[in-house]
Symmetry: C2
Subunit: 213 residues, 2 copies
DNA sequence: GCGTGTGAAGGGTTTCACAGCA
DNA sequence: TGCTGTGAAACCCTTCACACGC
């Protein structure tokens, strides 16, 4: 634990993804045995202005060395402290269709501290199947299973028309973080954090921005 | 085409996803034969403040009826004009793994004006397979196939270590819009628009925000 | 009266210019 | 000299309060 890291600071919605990006790059650099990084280099890699990077980092204490840059392993350790990325998070997938099973079978999450511990579907044919490291359970088991497996984050990959019902079930089972892949906006109580990944919207935004330079 | 729509206005990064959200809801409302919508109702459905919605919409002309609200079909047509969502966009997937084939097999895109026209992989076993509506081609065919199929958007679902090479190949073949699912930041020339969907970052951000209320 | 449209205020984020330290 | 850290300025986005039109 780094004593100097100022943990009191609330970090805003905009900054967190950037910090996570810096962390990603820094972890990569460490693997490449690079020991030092300049804000200028980080800027090129992350498409973020160098000043902004320095501002972001300086918020948590004087992490860099003027004239030299940032020590990679020190920076990594600071970022991990800031973001709290050292504990494992338990994930549950609801809806084992194409997307759901793609997620469950993706091998890269575990080393990122993200672990699938349960998966649910309502289609009888899928119940009992092994997908990635978990056995697919019936959705009626959700409440109990989520508590037993200590699920932190629920991932919704069901068709849009049942997404809201699933969200409510997740919340009812005590899940306060939801990643929503369905194409509808979820109504959830304020204590629940929802992030939406709407691929149709991503693609259309991409189209818009490329047409309008 | 609506004459009154002010197309000169550049719309910012923040606004586009909101507009696309409004459009999504409005299209749904039209299907339900609702003829009129208030900014207040749209606000509840989209989790966006009503004033902000009015501001967003008023940017393009006086679309609403004071005292009455917005005419649903008129609003839809305006939004489509603004966002340019009337033409079909041709998509190509590079990397037909779990995620790639999940995307190819998703049936909802076509009615959104998004159509897969090609898919590429380098694994021999996958070449020639039918995935969704396309036949998987060898990645060496990419340049030619992309031109023949008039691909607008490239979707990268290959492992991180080859993502950069794939991106360069896409750009070389004339694709200026890339949706990147890999866990690395792509370096691309400024005329190329890249959007990143990094699921590990989404999940970690979710974790951060739920821990820090 | 009711709901949209809008100038002005407010808040937050990014950039600028430069101070300070190795 | 080179690069980080930082107060001040600039910018952008959101909210407020209210004017205007049906």
């Amino acid at each position: 634990m780094n004593e100097a890291v100022n943990k009191e600071k609330k970090i805003s919605d905009v900054v967190i993804p950037r910090i996570l990006n810096y962390l990603k790059v820094v972890q990569q650099l460490e693997k490449e045995n690079k020991t030092t990084i300049l804000s200028e280099e980080l800027s090129r890699i992350t498409n973020t202005s160098a000043v902004l990077i320095r501002k972001d980092l300086a918020n948590f204490g004087k992490i860099g060395q003027p004239g030299t840059g940032y020590d990679v392993s020190r920076l990594k350790s600071y970022l991990l402290d800031i973001i709290g990325g050292k504990e494992m998070s338990n994930l549950a997938v609801v809806g084992v269709g194409n997307l759901g099973s793609a997620l469950l079978n993706y091998k890269g999450f575990e080393e990122e501290g993200l672990k699938f511990v349960a998966a649910f579907d309502k289609q009888e044919g899928k119940i009992g199947r092994i997908c990635g490291n978990v056995i697919v359970e019936h959705i009626d088991n959700m409440g109990e299973s989520i508590k037993n497996n200590n699920v932190h984050i629920g991932i919704i990959t069901v068709p849009s028309n049942v997404a809201q019902a699933v969200a409510e079930k997740l919340v009812g089972a005590g899940v306060y973080s939801i990643l929503n892949f369905s194409h509808v906006a979820l109504l959830a109580p304020p204590e629940v954090t929802v992030r939406n990944v709407d691929l149709a919207i991503e693609l259309k935004a991409l189209r818009y921005f490329s047409v309008n330079r």
